[in-house]
Amino acid sequence: MNFCLVSLLPPSYLDGQIFTHEVNQVSQWATVMGGTHYNGVAFDQGFYGLPYEFFDQFDLVMIALRSQLIDVGIKIKRKSNTMLVVFFDAELEHYTTYLDRELQVHFVELLNLADAVAVLHEYQIPVIRAITKKPVGVVGLPFPLKKVREDLCPPVEKERIIDLGSALGKIWSRNGLVNIAVLSETGLPGAADMQDPEELKYLRIMRKYMPIPPIYFRETSYRPFASNDRVELWETYITQVNRSLLGIHLDYRLTWGRFPLDCAAVRMPCVATPHFYTQKILFPDLCVLYQDVDRAAYLVKKLLKDRVFYDHVMSYAESKLPYFAESETKERLLELLS
C-alpha cells in the first residue's frame, strides 16, 4: 500500500523518502505503513514543488489534523483520487472550541469528504459520528515497543523520581502547573522535559511561595522544531524516563495521551486522567480527575509504599500493551477503511 502522512511536523530531508525511524510521534504512521511524509503547509505553499495531483500515486493519505491542515485536506480530496483518512492530531476541545469558527465549517466539510475519521478516544466517537456519515473509530498512534524494550530501555534500578508529563512549557503548558502542585504535595523530586531554560527561572520564582521539590530538567525537547535530530531527541527522552519510578500527568484534554504509554513501556506506572485513552486502557486503577489533586497525591504515595499495588498495576499495564503495538494499530486503521 502506498501511504503518505501529511502533518505539521517540520519539513526535513526525510520528506518524500520511505520513513524508517521509530518514535512515539505521529510520524510513526509513515514508518509502520512503509510510506512517506510531507509537511502539509509547506506542500500547499509549493515548498516541495509538487501539485496536489501528486497524491494520486498514493493508495492512502492520512492527514494528521490541526487547524492549519483543514484546507489542505480538502484540497487533497478535491484535486486527487486518493483515499483520505482524517487522523485527529489534537484533543477534541481543539476542534469544538478553539478552532476559528470559519475553520469549523471547513472541518465539518472535511470530515464528510474524507473516507474515514480516526479519533483518539472512544468518548469522541458520538460527537464525531453526529458530524459525519463516514466511518469513525479509535485507531491511535502505533508505539515502537520493540525498539524501546529491546534497544533503548532495558530494565534498570528505578530512582525515586516522579516523571512529569508536562512542566511549564515554552509558551504555555499542558496543565503543567497542576503536575507541579501535586509534586509539591508528594515531596518527591521530579523530572521533566525542558522546552527552554526560562522554565528554571519561573520555577525559582514559584518556589518562594510553594514547596516545589527539585525537578531535574532534561533538554530533550529543547529544540522541538529541529527536525533532523527529533529521533535522537526522542530516544534520549525515553532512555531518561526509564530511570524514573512513576509518572504523573494531570492534563484536562480529551485525547490520546502519549505519556502513559511511554510510562508503561519503560515499566513504570502513571497517574493521569481517563481523558487520556492510553491511561484508561493501561492504568484504570490510577485514573483520577485532573482536578482531584488529593487523590492523585494519595495514589502516588500508595505506589511508593505498597509494592504489591505497584506490581499489580504494572502487570495489568503489561497485559494491555499489545493493543498499542504497530501491527494491532495498523489493523485498526485497515478495519476502519474496509
Partner: protein, 346 residues
C-alpha cells in the same frame, strides 16, 4: 448575550453593606458607571459591585491612568475584588503593594485557563498574587484542593450572585415553546465559542428546534453552511439588546442545553433555573452540579444527552420534579447568601 448593561434602582440589600467600601477591578471596558455606586442587576461579574454597594474599575485602564488615579486610591476601600484574568495579575500585585485594602482574588475564568492556557511567564506572578492576597474565591468546589496547594491563604467557593428577585419580576411564568435554548453556538471568536459545535451537534441528534442568543449575525451564516453536511433542526437566532432582553427571551424556551467542557461556574444553568426551566449540562459547571444533579452529563456523551432531553420532553413529572429541585437550591445563589460566603472567606 449582549453585554450592554441595564440600570435598575438599588434594592434594600445594598443598605446592609453601607459600612463596607467595596471595589471590583475587572476587565470590563471603561464606561460612565465606573467610579460610581453600582446599580446594575445582571448575571455578570459586575453584579458584585451592586450587591456590595460598591463600584468598579477596569484594571488595565486604571493602570494606564485612564481614570487619573494613583494606586493608593484603593486605600479608600475596605475590600477590593480582582476578577482575575491575565491582564490583571500585575494590577492585583500593585494594589496589594501600593495600597492597604483587603484584596480578594476572584478566579474569573475556568481553572484550565490558569493552569494551562495562561502564558507561563504570567504563572509565577499569579502564584505570587494568590499568596499576597487576603483570600481566593474559586468558582467550583472541585478546584479548592488544587488552589490550596498553590497558596497558603484562605480558599473557598463564593461564586457569582444572581439577581433572582429581578429575574422573577421581568420573567413571569409563560407558556414555554418547544425549543431548546443553547448555551452557545459558533461564537464570534474562539473566546466566545464554548464548545458550541457540540451543542449544535447534540441538537441535531435530538431533532428538536433550538434557539440561541447570538453575538453577531455572521454566526448564523456559519451554522447554516453546516446544514449541507449535518441535519441541524431549525434554530431561531436572537440578538439580545442587553441582558434583560436575553433573559426575557430565554424564559420562553422549554429547556437549556450547554455541553461545555470547562471546569468553571456556569452562568447558563442558573439562568435556566431562574426562568424555571431545566438544563442539561456537565457537572464541571458548578451551577449545574448544584441545581440539576439529575441532568449532569459528560459533555461528549450525546446518547445520554438525548435520553435526558427526551425524558424531559415526554415526562412532565420528571420535568416538574427537576425544576422543583432546582428551585429549592436557588437561594444558594442569592446576593445575600453569596455575599455571606465572601465574608466568611475573609
Amino acid at each position: 448575550m449582549n453585554g450592554i448593561p441595564i440600570i435598575f434602582p438599588l434594592n434594600s440589600m445594598t443598605e446592609v453593606n453601607k459600612k463596607v467600601r467595596f471595589c471590583l477591578v475587572s476587565l470590563q471596558p471603561p464606561w460612565e458607571g465606573h467610579g460610581k455606586k453600582y446599580r446594575l442587576e445582571t448575571n455578570h461579574i459586575e453584579f458584585w459591585a451592586t450587591v456590595m454597594g460598591g463600584t468598579c474599575y477596569c484594571g488595565p485602564a486604571f493602570d494606564n491612568d485612564f481614570y487619573n488615579l494613583d494606586y493608593d486610591y484603593f486605600n479608600e476601600f475596605d475590600i477590593v475584588m480582582i476578577a482575575l484574568r491575565d491582564e490583571l495579575i500585575d494590577v492585583g500585585l500593585k494594589i496589594k503593594k501600593l495600597a492597604s485594602p483587603k484584596v480578594v482574588i476572584f478566579l474569573d475564568a475556568e481553572i484550565e485557563h490558569f493552569t494551562c492556557n495562561m502564558r507561563r511567564e504570567l504563572q509565577p506572578g499569579m502564584i505570587e498574587l494568590l499568596n499576597v492576597a487576603d483570600a481566593v474565591a474559586v468558582l467550583h468546589d472541585e478546584t479548592i484542593p488544587l488552589l490550596k496547594l498553590l497558596t497558603t491563604k484562605p480558599v473557598g467557593l463564593v461564586g457569582l450572585p444572581f439577581p433572582l428577585e429581578r429575574v422573577r419580576k421581568i420573567c413571569p411564568p409563560v407558556q414555554k415553546t418547544e425549543e431548546i435554548e443553547l448555551g452557545s453556538i459558533m461564537g464570534a471568536s474562539w473566546l466566545r465559542n464554548r464548545n458550541g459545535l457540540v451543542n449544535v451537534t447534540a441538537l441535531s441528534e435530538i431533532g428538536m428546534p433550538g434557539t440561541v442568543d447570538i453575538w453577531h449575525p455572521v454566526e448564523i451564516l456559519y451554522v447554516e453552511s453546516m446544514r449541507e453536511f449535518v441535519s441541524i433542526p431549525p434554530i431561531r437566532y436572537r440578538g439580545a439588546f442587553g441582558w434583560q432582553d436575553y433573559i426575557t427571551e430565554a424564559n420562553k424556551s422549554h429547556l437549556g442545553l450547554h455541553l461545555d467542557f470547562r471546569l468553571t461556574w456556569g452562568r447558563f444553568p442558573v439562568d435556566c433555573a431562574g426562568v424555571r426551566m431545566p438544563c442539561v449540562a456537565p457537572s464541571t459547571l458548578y451551577t449545574q452540579k448544584k441545581l440539576f444533579p439529575g441532568l449532569c452529563v459528560a459533555y461528549y456523551d450525546l446518547e445520554h444527552v438525548k435520553e435526558l432531553v427526551i425524558r424531559l420532553v415526554s415526562e412532565s413529572k420528571f420535568y416538574e420534579e427537576t425544576v422543583a429541585y432546582a428551585e429549592s437550591q436557588l437561594s444558594f445563589f442569592s446576593p445575600q447568601k453569596t455575599r455571606e460566603r465572601l465574608f466568611n472567606l475573609l
